[in-house]
Amino acid sequence: MDDLKETVEAPGYSNEEPGMAEPSSNGSGQELSSGSQKKVIAVAISVVSVIVGIVLWQIIGEYFVGNSLFLATPLQTISGIREMWTSGGLQEDLIVSGQEALYGFLIGSAAGIFIGTIIAKNRAAKRVLTPYISGFYATPIIALAPILILWFGLGIWSKVLVVISLVIFPQIINTEAGIRTTDETLRDVARSYGGSTIQIFRKVELWWALPYILAGLRLGIGRALIGVVVGELFGAKAGLGLAIFNAQSEFNMPQLFAGVAIFAVSGIFFTYLLTVLERALTPWASTRA
């Protein structure tokens, strides 16, 4: 849950200090001996917090607002999900939106890592691309979504492009920062053993950059989900964002809340998945003496 707040803030390109793309230090707050016990408590606190939140939401919705046109309660939201499922629309929407988010996230992240590497390793490329990257990163790129829909149609690929455009820039910036900040002494170590440029990249720089790249992926998850919803709002044939839009125009609050809830739960789930991935791929960052 600690991780959620980090997905909100994206690093700025102008602010080039290490803090901008700080690799997460996993396991902070976990001490040696009672580590697993503390972890259980930490998870329990998060779970209780969510349950309390949902109960409060139910009470406020039922007794204080009392009008499902303004606020659907959790129970109404669940029945909203059930309606969407039995009508068969939810399954289709999930597949469409899932594909858009997944393809966009994977392509955008891979391209971001690739371009970030090129920029870090090649000064000319950096000079050519930096104005575009800073420019696109600073503008609310989501405003381009209607144009992308206009150009590429109502199918999934226009939404995939929206997601790519949101995911790619933080990843470029993080990857570039990771490779650029590689400790010069470690490069020297590799050089003194006769390491070639490619060996230095593969055995030093890429590893140094790995926590930064993973942080970039984490930022990408939230942005991919935003891209799907906003992209579908501007034009789609199917998808969860479209379902939210339709529910809104029909004043069907339970189904609107259902759509939002599904996105929220996906955000939590995928961010958690990435935290697990981070721990598995960067064990040196989490082990403490």
Binding site: L186, R191, S192, Y193, G194, K203, P283, W284, R288
Partner: protein, 254 residues
């Protein structure tokens, strides 16, 4: 046999002459320390010997062969924290073999032997951040020895350690050196360290960096740390300090 030969080396960085006509030799199996005030170009000299840096003029040879780029005969021991944080002790030790495309499997026994020698048996799977400063420097040393170099170039390896750990590591280094018998060129700014370790001490002046004095250390080996408290040792340190003090005064303070 001559292990390291440096003849008339000059090096400029921009308009500043860092090294001027530096010459010395280290015989095979000899332990040479280079001591001097900060900014005298010691590290630059060591990097030139390793081929990490190019001299503007002069001749550098390892085992009689001229140096052009990082030499296989050398291994460089860097200052603290030059281990790859993402590699375990074991994986850090095989780093040099990997880069030189030497079969790691065939050298497993050798890596283990060297880890035992530097006193790190049982720490193979630890990450550097789990180790103390002294242990990290032991890994540094083991990593360099794994590629079986003829010459060890050591750049203030103990500078970041606390005083007690440093003394222990000095003694350890001599024990390991006695076992491996490499030619060592060791840079330090600690006078007692320079004298305690060396067969020969070279004292460097600065602005530009020159060899200002050369001292042959008469103590028998193996050496106990207690020789540092003897009068003879004190006199050698005093002589070096006299030279360095003169250099610092002439070149305008620290």
């Amino acid at each position: 046999m001559i292990g390291v030969s440096v003849q008339g080396v000059n090096k400029r960085f921009g308009g500043i002459q860092v090294l001027k006509d530096v010459s010395f030799t280290a015989n095979e199996g000899q332990f040479v320390t280079i001591v001097g005030p900060s900014g005298c170009g010691k590290t630059t000299l060591l990097r030139i010997i390793d081929g990490l840096e190019k001299a503007d003029s002069g001749d550098v040879r390892i085992d009689g062969r001229p140096v052009s780029g990082p030499a296989r005969e050398c291994a460089f021991v860097f200052q603290a924290d030059s281990l790859m944080p993402w590699r375990t002790v074991w994986d850090n030790c095989k780093f040099g073999l990997e880069l030189r495309k030497i079969d790691v499997q065939a050298n497993k026994g050798r890596i283990q032997e060297l880890l035992n020698l530097v006193g790190l048996r049982g720490f193979e799977k630890h990450y550097p951040r789990q180790l103390s400063g002294g242990m990290r420097q032991r890994v540094n040393l083991a990593r360099a020895l794994v590629v079986d170099p003829d010459v060890l170039l050591m750049d203030e390896p103990f500078a970041a350690l606390d005083a007690q750990t440093r003394e222990i590591m000095q003694k350890e280094l001599l024990r390991i050196w006695a076992d491996q018998r490499k030619t060592v060129v060791f840079i330090t700014h600690q006078l007692d360290e320079a004298v305690y370790l060396a067969d020969r001490v070279l004292v460097m002046g600065r602005k530009p960096g020159v060899i200002a004095d050369e001292i042959t250390v008469p103590f028998e080996r193996p050496r106990e740390l207690s020789i540092k408290r003897t009068e003879e040792f004190g006199k050698l340190v005093e002589r070096i300090w006299g030279t360095i003090e003169g250099v610092i005064r002439e070149t305008g303070g620290i």
